[in-house]
Symmetry: C3
Subunit: 433 residues, 3 copies
């Protein structure tokens, strides 16, 4: 992996708040309240949003509000703070406004910049446009007597041009004419991206854009940055948000936008290993989580049925009826089941592998056993999985994420200890070190 | 969005016709008949095809036929005219033939060029190969005293090299050594692409190539061009053609090849919003369109069943049985339904949002209500959706397409007025202006 | 297609063996036994693996073992031999070790190099890193008096950087400062790629990475190379391995890693056309292979049912019941069925098309007829498919692969003749020439 130049190696949550709301006694109400978030409700990255979330007419006041709230509350905020300013690849006016907003927010006399980790630049175009924004930040650091390269820069990918630019980034980062090493997050912005790509769906829902998410994750991997997915608008739909995150995680995109503290909680927990392990059953093409009853994994749907018949079994799935003896049944059910390990399981396996490696063994078998019950018929299953160095390394990702969270978010220690127990937390912090 | 340099901002249909057919009294029969198409049967872009659709031995005659038919009928043809000539990245002979064909077709003395909008170059390779074709067009413009840059150039993407070139295009377009600003359409050619990629499917069907289509759409977005999908061979399969177009539209690829006037009609209508709105129901993973009966949305399949039971309801889906009270049932059905807005609905929403914006409000809720009937049980549903500037902008794409069609295709005015009513057409032309 | 500079135009199988195993009397046991493989058990490319498959402490001995076994048995090995050495984009130490390993293995005095076709370089980064490896090979050829450019180089794609590099490769290959024309295979390594991309799945299974595989196949196509997929770990799961290969083939990735001689057999056969043709039926969204009984294609599942009713038919699929007359039923079943041609069918069609072309016809209809039986009701179907030059060219891919195999793998002649009959083999070798 490319060396990462920032404090956080992982960002689970990117939470935006409007910087100035019209018609309130305190126009800074939203960011003031956000600045007080702690624990699982507090994001890894908090984004006072002086762009789309704030009305154009309120953005000057938004700058003042950011300065006021961050200088007051920034020291105690547990996550990083990266305000979003205005920018547009097609508008020099907007770009100059963005520069002015950053210049003002960063002024040391205002007292906010010491708590600000970087800026988020929306609507960037090709790599030359990224350089324009980067150059402004370099100038700002110089004007304000800040150390060059200390303000992080993140961008929102909202058009085809910037999607392509992610492929060029790594080659541009080393050049002596820029400080692109300050790059920190690549964040997808699917609403504007959909507009730029001129996509249409019958219901008006956003397209899933799997290739964009892959390319963002790849761009982050190639340049040592962090990939973050865009907003999930349907706030009521917690299940859908979780599914989106699971999909993203399989692409290497471990962070996601959050629009409410409720979404922050979900997104802070999602990439962490589960508290309890569990079994999945492929029931006629649908993946079903089994319920545990007294140590037995029970399937009680009727997409799949099982009965004893003479000296064998009859398994019915979809339209098909299969006659099996006991070994064949076990084999069939092994093929249809998967185990989802808990944090506890993962730590156990890694410790076991580390011990084996120390003892000179390069590969060991990890076993996972369960009793499965379908229609009253019980079958004992046992799955072996070979672990070698590569398995170990790949399994390390969620543990490294946990370690990064633990090291950087003391405000979440209590929640983590409650989720996993003190003992597991301690052992998880020791793995791989 | 990048500024587009051509008359049309959208191309729904790319219709090819053989330029010379052997064994007919009139070898120009096919293009002569195509040149007479009008209204929904006439494509946005008509492509007299002097490459694959025409036998190699007939291509000299094809050039003469293009000249003859376009000089006669081109003035009255309602779409743009972009003949396809021969070209191959691996054959200088073929490239020189392509140059000669374009030189002849463009000769002002032949009277066709004033009705011709550009040329389509197949089988291009990397960006240097695109430049070779572009340079020939520059030379032709110069030789024939035509204004430099006025002949559009479009390419067919039929290999991995040209797929990659779409990522380089934007950077090459501004260089003073070429006139690549004449680029107009990026068109996928999946049959030859499949050959070039050496892909195999068991049935011999074409692979779906989702990544190619994404990359083409992205390349078009980044360079201000128009993305068009390749031919759909199974002409009988109207449903499949429609599904392909819906898929493409979600990728931002709004145009598609058409092989028959029947396909042209389908493809001209597909990206336009529907005449009637409708409800979709997720019936155990299958999306089903509900039938409207006297204002009620009715599901009468049996993938999902519903009955009253005491003071609640029992919903059966797949193998699962769920007991729900009235509110839970409404919630469950809200999750399972989606509304597909009509042109009428879209225009209403946009007008409403424009009025709200004028009144100083940045976001409003749009409501969609319906009564749903499953197995005789009726439930009233109401869906709210928040509209802000971004929602409005994204919803604008189909309306912009409609406006582009209306402005450029007077021959379709009657059909559009019949589909949508005069009133809706008029209001749709006013939205967003 | 880009001209390929190597003996093999296709590689079906990439089989790795540990070069030195600890605790055995003969540490070379695994590669000694692999070097004896013949026929369908012998891979197209054999990879004595001095990297991940071999413990770090055993790699010096691994070099000696490669030299010993290849100099002894290499002459008789029927596939190509491409040892994998160590390499890492982030470690100059590892890169220098890789250089030393190649230098030693290639020493003509050791007698192995005359049987070695190239080297496999793992863990490469951006294109500059590929050039470092390439330069070492150039130096080795020079030091050992071997002809420049004769040792092939293949890379394993295991990170985002190298995935991006595949897009640059073609432009770098022609430069006078390198010999990248020696590039042969692009091989995906999904375990380390998953680690580099920091992806997480609930079960710990590898993500499917469809975009990576597309990009590898495209990179191979653009540069005239061969695309190979990574290891399929679950050796028991033959069905899953086959499905993966079918998916890969639709992406143009015709080769795959094999971990056991059993996987080699499967992977050698998979891209070859089947011995017997067969019919597929879409039974409520599930594709089912029909059983042939006395020349009739029989469906006996119950996802789909059919009965006669008065003068028509009732077809039940999923929850839906459709009443059809005889013609409509035939139409419906035509839509739901597809034919998978055998090698025999393919050769017939190609010969027929070649004859038609010689007779001056550019397109002909190929017919495929069958009787289908569902629930005792029999229906005669006949499918027409138009073949033109493009269809013919695309259908040529599996035949070209067969021809490449036949020309390069005499040890498989007997197996191929047994699979297809001598007659079909002979005719397949004549097609397209």
């Amino acid at each position: 992996m490319v060396e990462r130049k920032h404090d956080r190696e992982f960002v689970r949550t990117f939470f935006t708040s409007p910087t100035a709301v019209e018609g309130e006694d305190d126009s800074a109400k939203m960011i003031r309240s956000a600045s007080g978030l702690r624990g699982m409700q507090a994001p890894d990255v908090w984004v006072p949003d002086n762009e789309d979330a704030t009305a154009p007419s309120m953005r000057d006041e938004g700058v003042d509000n950011i300065v006021e709230v961050v200088s007051e509350n920034g020291a105690d905020f547990p996550g990083e703070i990266h305000p979003r300013v205005v920018w547009h690849r097609n508008s020099p006016t907007t770009r100059y406004q963005g520069f002015q907003q950053m210049l003002e927010i960063s002024d040391p006399e205002n007292g906010a910049i010491e708590h600000i980790d970087g800026f988020v630049i929306p609507e960037v175009g090709g790599i030359d446009d990224w350089k324009k924004a980067e150059e402004f930040i370099t100038i700002i650091e110089n004007e304000h007597g800040l150390e060059e390269g200390t303000i992080a820069m993140s961008v929102i990918i909202e058009c085809g041009q910037s999607e392509l630019a992610m492929g060029d980034l790594r080659n541009e980062m080393g050049k002596p004419t820029n400080n692109l090493e300050r790059m920190f997050m690549l964040v997808d912005g699917e609403v504007d991206y959909t507009k730029d790509m001129r996509a249409i769906t019958p219901t008006g829902d956003l397209p899933p854009w799997p290739e964009l998410r892959h390319n963002t994750s790849r761009g982050a991997s190639a340049a040592g940055l962090i990939a973050v997915d865009g907003p999930y608008d349907d706030i009521r739909d917690v299940e859908g948000y979780r599914e989106r995150m699971t999909e993203n995680q399989a692409k290497g995109m471990l962070g996601i936008w959050a629009l409410t503290p409720g979404q922050v909680v979900e997104a802070n927990k999602s990439p962490l290993p589960p508290e309890e392990g569990g079994w999945l059953l492929d029931a006629d093409g649908r993946e079903v989580e089994l319920d545990e009853e007294d140590g037995v994994q029970v399937y009680d749907g009727d997409r799949l049925s099982l009965e004893e018949s003479g000296d064998g079994y009859v398994l019915r799935v979809g339209g098909d009826e299969i006659e099996l003896d006991e070994d064949e049944l076990r084999e069939e059910l092994l093929d249809r089941t998967e185990y989802v390990p808990s944090m506890d399981d993962i730590v156990d396996s890694m410790e076991e592998f580390e011990a084996a490696k120390e003892a000179g063994r390069g590969a060991i078998a990890m076993e996972q056993a369960a009793t499965l019950r379908v229609d009253g018929v019980e079958v004992d299953l046992s799955k072996d999985r070979m672990w070698d160095e590569a398995t170990y390394q790949a399994a390390m990702t969620p543990v490294s994420l946990f370690q990064d969270v633990y090291a950087n978010r003391p405000d979440q220690h209590e929640d983590l200890a409650e989720m996993y127990s003190e003992d597991i937390v301690e052992r998880a912090m020791d793995v791989g070190t």
